[in-house]
Amino acid sequence: MKIINFMGQRKLAMAFSAILLIVAIGSLVTKQLNWGLDFTGGTLVEVHYSETANLTEIRGLLEGGTFDGAIVVSFGSDQDVLIRLPQGHSDKSGPALVELLQDNFAGTVELRRIEFVGPQVGDELREQGGLAMLLALGLVMVYIAFRFQFKFAVGAVSGLVHDVIVTLGFFSVIGLEFDLTVLAALLAVIGYSLNDTIVVADRIRENFRKLRRSDPVEIINISLTETLSRTLVTSLTTLLVLISLAVFGGEMINGFALALIVGVAIGTYSSIYVSASTLLLLKVNKEDLMIPVKEGAEQEEVLP
């Protein structure tokens, strides 16, 4: 089998990652995220019109009155309308809004859903989400440090942080709504990307122990080449189902699917380049991976 020189391009990959991270962080700082209702609080109403809904008419109807500041958009089809009221409207405004729409429309306006989130809930949720993410990263790091070695833990976690920031950045740049399901998707991305990283790390460890060669770059290249087909096949099958979810799953699950698609794609890249490059940066070597019990035995032999 031909060994692909992955690590030869690692400078290039690092530059690419750096650009991705700068763009992502830059956008997160300046543009921030388009927080969904779960986080901002407010009221959201989805209705289904029996005929094509006239958005301009609906906007005119809501302007100036009690529902001033409402954002009206179509949702999926031209008969489905989504209306968002900012924070400050009472929990009774949702049903009142639906009634108003029905009164001004000859056909039927069917209520699909009303969501009202009070101001207290959003902040807590953001805190909780951040906490969950940090906790996940922390525990994963401990597990890998325990099962592999500390340098691998750093490599894996830097890959994960890279994936999370880039995915968040993607949502920020495109301006997609960031709601609770997207947060769940982000945590799933951590799980998935980790899966990939571990498989690669496992092979690197095996090769460090098995192969006589000791050049870390060469060993990592061999390991990445050996796992490449598996990495691509798994990413492909996962992407296949995610695309199916994005296409057929409906509007409510779209953000979730999209976050995962971006996350899986970037996670595949990062398990090859970010985690492995970090290992090289940390100067991983054969001694790091000797099985502890044997290590002692070998030392005794080396002594004159």
Partner: protein, 626 residues
């Protein structure tokens, strides 16, 4: 011999798959839309006559129904309907025909064949986003409850000092602590020990400022959290009681975090009605039992509330001693002899009213009334001939208990002579429900229309189908015969996943379906790992049998590591997340566990059956020819 499983291993695989098929099967049977009829009061028996009144109303409206059933103890009846669209009309018709006093709930009746339900197999419950309904998140105003308790301590300390004739200034500081100021140290010490005796739960501090000797009483953190806990659980019980009135077949009332309560009402569309009932206030009245010779104008007759004293009545005086606002706590407990009782605490004003009323009435009896706001429905003809239901509120007063007053009562007293701990806890619960609860507010509300729910199911199932089809196609093309093994294992993984979730009683939500879809994509990973290993081994020149053997062996630790770390993430998701995130975490973690079984043990069994124990020249595993 390489690659041969002993018989028992095949049997285990077969056994697990059979169990999986049995417990996943109920999900294939679509439930029937149904109406459930129960009496508003638990003594109401549903009999054939009531049922036939209901079915006649349905027939008049031309609504098709079948398989009517009254349960064994006559508590409720179930009518199945042919079409879900007619469910709401049917509910209104039956309610109209039976009148008030009956709760007509929308229900989905499972159609699980009896031999399956006999094995305990049940279909998964659907979350609100799939079934439609209302989700409320309520916040209990714990601050208000704490303030009330501070007020109570202030008054209690004032009263105690007055009774003992200790002169001092009692006030409350900004932190809600009670500060009592005295002229002399001896007065302070006397007051201090008095407070310590009456309220051991308070922490006391001495403060000396010039000529003033003060003692400051503060609630401990523990007391504070107890008050918060009490306020939340009190609201929780009252809300549970009220939700039953809403006519929901499977409501969920759950505490969430420190001071939140989540209420989920599947099938409900009318949020205004739901909120009205949830926010309803119950109350209590303490009144003396009327003397035999009292004139009729001074007394009123009330029925007992509990079912086992149904029909029994009692005459009470018209004068009310105190109402529920004065009750600060009621707790089921035991006396020195281990007999059940209920300890009642009143606020200071309640205490003095109670002592004034009972001082001269020892040996008489005192009745406790439970007051609930109820609604009577009246049907009014509109000008255009349509009928509208108008709800007219009224207060229903029923007697909880009428014990004998043994001595003059104060702010603390107890009700004894109860038959069982069950009775005492029920009485305490009703007293608490009637007492003024900490105020609640709605902080989150989600309504999902039934059509959206149905659409979510349809789209979810569709994306699972297409996703699965794509993966099957790819795997078979890429890994040939081994791909077929992986695909069969994947299908059984789905079956096991469904079976597990049904057995756990997990609720299926839209994010849950997304979790299933993701599992389909990721579950093949274990097989991909194994198959790539086998291909490598073949390239290295191993014999097919050896390649299979060492391929499975070498991939095992990788698979375990990869799955355990993902499981860590899923568990954190479950622990930290709420609502939709939890649903996703459950399917993801169950999916990881089942996929490890099917992908490692399941495919190995198939491979061993197919290739094991014979001479094999080459494996149909795809990839470059070696």
């Amino acid at each position: 011999m390489l690659n041969k499983y002993p018989l028992w291993k095949y049997l285990i695989v077969l056994f697990v798959i059979t169990i999986g098929l049995v417990y996943a099967a109920p999900n294939l049977f679509a439930p029937d839309p149904a109406l459930q009829i129960t009496g508003e009061n638990s003594a109401q028996v549903i009999d054939e006559a009531i049922l036939s009144r209901a079915t006649r109303a349905l027939e008049e409206a031309g609504i098709e129904h079948f398989d009517e059933l009254i349960d064994e103890n006559g508590r409720n009846a179930l009518i199945r309907l042919r079409s879900a669209e007619q469910q709401l009309t049917a509910q209104a018709r039956v309610q109209r025909a039976l009148g008030d006093g009956f709760i007509i709930a929308l229900n989905l009746a499972p159609t699980t064949p009896s031999w399956l339900s006999a094995l305990g197999a049940q279909p998964m419950k659907l979350g609100l986003d799939l079934s439609g309904g209302v989700h409320f998140k309520l916040e209990v105003d714990v601050e208000a409850a704490t303030e009330r308790r501070q007020e109570y301590y202030l008054n209690a300390v004032k009263r105690a000092l007055r009774e003992k004739r200790i002169r001092g200034m009692v006030s409350m500081d900004k932190q809600g602590r009670v500060v009592a100021r005295f002229r002399s140290e001896s007065q302070r010490e006397e007051a201090r020990s008095l407070i310590a005796e009456n309220h051991p739960e308070l922490t006391l501090e001495r403060l000396d400022e010039g000529d003033n000797f003060s003692v400051r009483a503060a609630m401990t953190e523990q007391t504070r959290s107890e008050i918060a806990d009490y306020a939340v659980s009190q609201n929780l019980t009252t809300i549970r009681n009220r939700v039953n009135e809403l006519g929901v077949s499977e409501p969920l009332v759950q505490r969430q975090g420190k001071n939140r309560i989540v209420v989920e009402l599947p099938g409900i569309q009318d949020t205004a009605e739901a909120k009205r009932i949830l926010g309803k206030v119950a109350n209590l009245e303490f009144r003396l039992v009327a003397n035999m010779d009292a004139p009729a104008s001074d007394k009123q007759q009330f029925e007992y509330r509990s079912a086992d004293r149904a029909g029994m009545k009692e005459w009470l005086e018209r004068d009310v001693i105190i109402t529920g606002e004065r009750v600060s706590n009621a707790q089921a407990s035991f006396d020195q002899n281990g007999r059940p009782n209920v300890q009642i605490s009143l606020d200071s004003e309640g205490g003095s009213l109670m002592s004034r009323a009972t001082r001269n009435n020892v040996k008489r009896r005192m009745g406790v009334l439970f007051i609930e706001r109820k609604y009577r429905t009246r049907y009014e003809q509109q000008a255009d001939g349509t009928e509208v239901a108008v709800k007219i509120p009224y207060d229903e007063r029923k007697l909880l208990t009428a014990p004998v007053i043994q001595s003059a009562l104060g702010a603390q007293f107890q009700i004894t002579g109860l038959d069982s701990p069950l009775e005492s806890s029920e009485l305490a619960l009703m007293l608490r429900a009637g007492a003024l609860a900490a105020p609640i507010s709605f902080v989150e509300e989600r309504t999902i229309g039934p059509s959206l729910g149905a659409e979510n199911i349809r789209l979810g199932v569709k994306s699972v189908q297409y996703g699965l089809a794509l993966v099957v196609l790819f795997m078979v093309l890429y890994y040939r015969v081994f791909g077929v093994f992986a695909v069969v294992a994947l299908s059984f993984n789905l079956v096991l996943l469904l079976a597990f979730m049904s057995l756990l009683g997990a609720t299926l939500t839209l994010p849950g379906i997304a979790g299933i879809v993701l599992t389909v994509g990721m579950a093949v990973d274990a097989n991909v790992l194994i198959f790539s290993r086998i291909r490598e081994e073949i390239r290295d020149g191993r014999s097919p049998q050896m390649a299979i053997h060492s391929g499975y062996d070498a991939a095992l630790s990788t698979i375990l590591d990869a799955n355990i770390t993902t499981l860590i993430v899923a568990v954190i998701l479950y622990a930290v997340g709420t609502g939709p995130i939890k649903g996703f975490a459950v399917t993801l973690s169950v999916g990881i566990v089942t996929s490890m079984f099917t992908a490692i043990v399941g495919t190995r069994a198939m491979v061993n059956l197919f290739y094991g124990g014979r001479k094999v020249k080459s494996l149909a595993i795809g990839g470059p020819k070696s």
